[in-house]
Assembly symmetry: D2
Homo-oligomer: 366 residues x 4
């Protein structure tokens, strides 16, 4: 249970980190969407951070395969299945961690829920590698969004390892282009300082967290439903389902809680003959529904739990306390990859809600 | 669409603020749960804030009626329907607001989605009064939780109108008892200062936001599912579906994003023969699943959008800019009622996930 | 669990036969649908069979109330809740049946699932009276179908107590008008003979079953989804969820199983510039999806299990065999009311699928 | 949309007949279930009918691969993905059928719903080959049923091409063993006559339909939910989602519609200290829920629509009437493979409902 997301545009993922493959099935894709395999490859490529060997020393392409749902470059309206083959993983250093849950990791939770049957190698199902399937589904979702309702989604980091960007005046395009840098930050000075932090943190065998932001171009009104299925609620679920996410705030978020109504309310004005918000402090929804403004929210990611320092745990076979030191491959920060997953989940939620709202037909006319 | 919540324990709400009634149907309640009508009444009573006339000058009891699913004081296993009748509402001052959406309110979103068919009186379906149905469902959920797996849920405010509590050492019981005070804060000095802020804010015709916290007693392991249906994700969705919620953070939340792994990771220790977290910075879940620790998160609520100051909007019939000043009844802050709704939603999510995890049987043995 | 139906157009029902009320909440109704309360009353009236006192000696109007979702005669796009109040039921003769399950009834199943907590009076949740909620939801669904995509649904009996109609040449209009007769059969002679059978069966304290047919006007293509959510599959679920339904067949149904492909296949021809089926032996779908033809299926209903003859059962308290004779009110055949419920469920499924297929917008333009 | 089945035990399928692979993802499998790959192979093998070359001249093994969710022979509790690779299909003779929908096939429906984007080769997504994924999921479901609640499911044909079995006294074991014969019928004489019919029908280039039956060993009480999610309703949906299914009847089915209550009601008796049905005319459920009896139902399958006789259709590009004669590989009857799919779907529904009812824990203790 738990690996199916969405109501109409449905994403199903599978795969363990050290199993043969990670995969995704997407049911509910409209027919007639042009699918460019190289775009999927590029989206997967953004996870590689080849300019920043600290994050991914090997920088290898992912090998993926579309198994169904696409014919002659266009979606058929049937489920699209994509498999991303896992490279041969070295699981040796996981042997000593069997039944010794790593602090901050999912190991303990899987043991308590599934008993001895869980796969702990490389984090198993809870590995960050799981987000590969989200990225693929996100690429399909982005194609639908762009072709059907001309909406785009982007993301960047606004803080990493304590280094925050110092600009607030960036555009959507600035955010998109930030991915050409070693780290996706709109402020070059912040990139330099954050890289330094990462380098020093790796030296110490430690890890850092970060804060990312997702934003979109203008979303047509009507996405999101009253009461429980608010767009904000489904975005929160989608993003908080990412392994390292620990907080989310829309628009000015926690800052709004300290404002007065007269400061917080976005005034409604007329622009190009349409009612619009003068500001967008609320982040793009009212009453849980999109209103023609861009969606905007921030996500906090905790530091990678795997570190090379000794940590206390319990040997679950002997039921006694012990100490472990992780020796396998690890990311000094999950935030750069995790914000990509948040961007993908945002695209997925937007397609699902646009379809629920009847804004995307079952066949995209070409 | 949007008024159904949950997968196995399903909550369905209906009703407009100025319609005949607000109601809730709860499908999936186990049989054999003792239902005390006076408990439902008391839970609804917590919304009244009778000690604080600024929040609710009238302080009247809600009149509710159980229509199905309960026989001789016990649940039957069939849907429980409860209706809360609306008092005769005075809708007159809403006439002048028809097609003039109030800034910060859902009016504009409803107009853009549903055209002229939306009910704007008292906020219609988007009124804060909608949470009455959540409170009733939460009361049923709390009875199930307590009787089936001995879990309790509580909430309080940690900040209101900029006044924060100064204690961090409070217990679950302190939080429960905070509801005996004029405002549910564990710090008496904060209560006094926050009341002052509310009084002054009302004088100015303005409003304030706040931050609340929800916490539970120890939750048995295994609630929540891998990948998308993480307990954290479903709690985030549940809570972010509350009208004024703009942010949520679990455990130390955004503070974790600024820590190193060695600071953030909760060490695993042996306590009473069970693996436990030495600290609970993460807020009670790992890999998205409960692990035997209490669940803990904070929610940011924006200030009430209705204020008595003039605000800019657009007359949607004439499509021209105009100004409105709200003259109806309003809450100077929605946070005290909203955190109650968050508490209720937490109970609902916990029951739903405990049932999904097979931890609650279909008949509670007595 | 089990009282929620549909994915986008969602129907939720509640209520026990001898409780205060039966009710329904419909979430997902588009905005702008004209709702005529007298139409709901007439649809409920069809259940009364006032011309046939054997089926309903009292012939009283149902008293119903719309609690939400309708403003000034039009749907708002929010959930519509309707309550039908139960008259004061006489439960006395049920006292002797407590823990003595009636053969053919749901009593035994409820006891085995919910223990002593089930409500057996009048059949409780499993009473035929439960279909009142389906009829109300069906009336709303019919309004949506008619106003949004100009589709109509009708039903009639083709066999009752062994008396079959002898015509096959009836039109949709004939079927609609059959409800003006004592029994909804298109063949007057069959009506007379079936009434005789009912009268004689009542004299003997026995009951009879019957077969009904549901048919529609032309349904636009595209309702139904490949593989699991075929229109035929969802109709089968919807109809087989009616208490006394024991079989369903589409088009020629079981007769098709004895044909050759060359006899069974509907040839595809051009009519008015559109590809159409020359015949409609298959009942209106191909590959599980509507193709522009009317939908057509038959349903078998078992005889009413309540009879006034002694029957064998087990006293579940003493765990010993015993005999019971039912003395309460009973319907000599459930088929006439059950086919109405099947008609209602068909309308509900068609709306749900038309919305999934994007054929019904969220606001019906007027 | 449409390729996800189930609420808790969820089956997702994908794949086109002439694409690279057919696949299935099963989410919600409990942990600790022993998975024997050779059992999956044998279940797939039952589709081959190697003793009856008319049904499958090539009789080749399917090549399948488990990609996730199984470790060291046991389920992990995470999604199980299985891929069955398609052999290189010869699509040439489909070229002439492009935009010329075959009567009785899904082609026309796909065109009307998805436009020119559908894959018609080999029936595309609507091919009978789609059931390969159901068989794999059914094999997993059978393993869960057997290991968790000791329930088994079997199926056979009771009529094929007009040849009916003449026995009614067969046992569950007889039904299981019928699969060792050329055709799965419990009556050897019927097998001989049915084979003759198939041979002659092939000679004529025509096809035949049939009727199958699914039955189970005793199912524990409590599967199925009141009102909409009756076990019978979900089984009907599951089975009617199979391509060639046109009717279903439970227990005595349509025969019950012609009986009186006194003939139809199963009397309740005491057997081994438990209340049981004396007969099982109703097919194993009351009020939609299992009661400790075996489940039993029959399914009608229409004849294969592909035949080698000329048939009328419309050329959708030229929008003119034309004639086609199918020249590709075809099954003279789909019934033998289709009843296998019905058996698999039954196992899937039973696991889903047993999990909803809390009868199957999240970890199978070993």
């Amino acid at each position: 249970m738990g690996s199916v997301f969405g109501r109409v545009f449905r994403v199903v993922t599978f795969g363990e980190s050290h199993g043969p493959a990670i995969g995704v099935v997407i049911d509910g894709v409209p027919a007639g969407v042009a699918i460019d395999e190289s775009f999927i490859g590029r989206e997967l490529g953004r996870r590689r951070f080849c300019q920043l060997p600290i994050l991914n020393p090997r920088c290898e392409d992912e090998e993926f395969q579309i198994l169904s749902g696409v014919k002659d470059g266009f979606t058929e309206g049937t489920p699209i299945a994509v498999i991303v083959w896992n490279r041969r993983a070295i699981s040796d250093y996981y042997n000593e961690l069997w039944m010794k849950p790593r602090p901050g990791h999912a190991d303990l939770a899987y043991y308590l829920k599934f008993g001895r049957f869980y796969d702990h190698r490389g984090g198993g199902r809870a590995s960050g590698r799981e987000t590969v399937a989200r990225i693929v589904a996100g690429a399909i979702a982005k194609a639908v969004l762009k072709q059907a309702i001309n909406v785009e989604v982007a993301s960047h980091l606004i803080e990493l390892g304590g280094v925050a960007i110092s600009r607030e005046d960036y555009t959507f395009e600035d955010v998109v282009r930030s991915w050409e840098k070693p780290l996706p930050m709109v402020d070059d000075e912040a990139v330099r300082r954050a890289v330094d932090v990462l380098v020093n943190t790796v030296k110490e065998g430690d890890s850092v967290g970060g804060i990312g932001e997702v934003l979109t171009t203008e979303v047509p009104p009507g996405l999101g439903e009253p009461v429980f299925d608010k767009l904000r609620a489904d975005l929160a679920k989608a993003v908080m389902s990412i392994g390292s996410a620990v907080g989310i705030e829309f628009g000015l978020g926690f800052r709004l809680a300290r404002m007065r109504g007269s400061e917080a309310n976005d005034q409604i004005v007329l622009r190009n003959g349409r009612p619009r918000l003068e500001t967008n402090r609320i982040g793009g929804t009212l009453g849980g529904m999109s209103i023609g403004e861009p969606i905007r929210f921030r996500v906090a990611f905790k530091p990678t739990p795997s570190i090379r320092k000794p940590q206390r745990t319990v040997d679950l076979e002997k039921m006694m306390e012990t100490t472990i030191t992780f020796r396998g491959r690890y990311d000094v920060s999950t935030a750069p990859k995790a914000i990509l997953a948040a961007e993908a989940m945002t695209a997925i939620v937007l397609v699902d809600h646009a379809m629920r709202a009847g804004l995307i037909p079952r066949v995209i006319k070409r």
